[in-house]
């Protein structure tokens, strides 16, 4: 057993949710009941439950793309790490945005903070 590369790629919570849900659904459909895969089933259902409680299941690929597209550019100019953190945490208050963006008060105005909150609020369309 050998770890070749510790940081081979970052994943958003949404990507993990999508991957794990799809794999679990495939296994249920194929009725794969191998007892030795018990550990896999346990962690899959626990991860899904955690992410659903956080609202990750309400996200979508378009949402992730839009967040990265908008927040990395003018006027917000957030780093990839900051956008990743935001789409994982899904902040609902200005105080949380300040947690996730370093030197927030210098880089973002109050209106821009509100705009970001609006973007990640995942309001269901009317």
């Amino acid at each position: 057993m050998e770890v070749l590369e510790d940081h081979a790629g970052m994943l958003t919570n949404y990507e993990v949710y999508e991957l794990v849900s799809r794999d679990r659904a495939d296994r249920v459909q194929k009725k794969q009941g191998d007892k030795q895969l018990h550990n896999l089933r346990v962690i899959q259902s626990q991860v899904i439950r955690h992410l659903e409680a956080r609202g990750t299941n309400l996200e979508s690929r378009e949402f992730i793309r839009e967040c990265f597209g908008r927040l990395k550019n003018e006027p917000y100019l957030l780093s990839s790490d900051e956008v990743l953190h935001i789409v994982n945490v899904l902040p609902k208050s200005a105080a949380e945005i300040h947690l996730l963006v370093s030197n927030c008060s210098e880089r973002l105005s109050d209106e821009q903070v509100e705009e970001i909150l609006e973007l990640v609020s995942l309001q269901a369309p009317e």
Binding site: E2, V3, L4, D6, G9, D23, N39, P91, S93
Partner: protein, 209 residues
């Protein structure tokens, strides 16, 4: 919170699975790694994909084919400073204990609670004294914290998420402790996150939303 980690390992495929090799390799990797802590790396959620499988070697007397596989694992691997959310499971004088469901070993020591805070012995709960108000850190509440540090216990390269009880340790808390072997109340988990909540935006989710 989650990252990909590239690994190389040797996998044995039993003869009956040789015609569906890739599926058998995927299952063997998941059986070995899923829900286990990779020392110094993190908690493995499962296989992401297989990148390379070498040609199989069959050893004399063993019908299985042994292949070397390079693959990517999905690993729970939070960064220092990352904001995570879980629920409070218990509290004692040493702090709060938080679980994310798939990961249970998060501790927030008293020095990492908002100040001033006190431990209420009766309710067995921490309380933050804010502007004359008592903000209770109740069990079951959702709490947002920042990762302060991650420690890996003295274990093998790959460990069960929950260490097995020590020999002689009692399962039920009401049994009298053995006089010969004093089993510690908490066996050190293979991966332990220390968190802090003494920053605006952290603490109980209901405080800010």
């Amino acid at each position: 919170m989650f990252e990909l980690v590239r690994m190389r390992d040797a996998v044995g495929i039993a003869p009956e699975f040789l015609d569906a090799e890739k599926g058998a390799v995927q299952d063997e990797i998941n059986k070995k790694y899923a829900n286990r802590v990779l020392d110094g790396v993190g908690l493995v959620v499962g296989l992401y994909n297989i990148e390379r499988i070498s040609n199989g070697i069959i050893h004399p007397g063993d019908g299985a084919s042994h292949v070397t596989v390079e693959f990517l694992l999905i690993v729970f691997k939070p960064h220092i400073g990352e904001v995570l959310c879980g629920s409070i499971t218990s509290s004692d004088g040493d702090g709060l204990y938080v679980s994310l469901g798939f990961f249970d070993d998060v501790q927030i020591p008293p020095s990492c609670l908002p100040s001033p805070s006190r431990f209420d012995e009766e309710e067995k709960c921490w309380v933050w004294e804010w502007n004359g108000n008592d903000m209770w850190l109740d069990h079951g509440q959702e709490i947002q914290f920042r990762v302060f540090s991650i420690e890996y216990g003295p274990r093998d390269l790959l460990s069960h998420r929950k260490p097995p009880p020590l020999a002689g340790a009692s399962e039920s808390s009401s049994a009298a402790p053995s006089t010969e072997v004093a089993a510690p109340a908490h066996v050190q988990p293979p991966m332990m996150i220390t968190g802090y909540i003494n920053e605006p935006g952290l603490g109980l989710v209901c405080w800010w939303r």
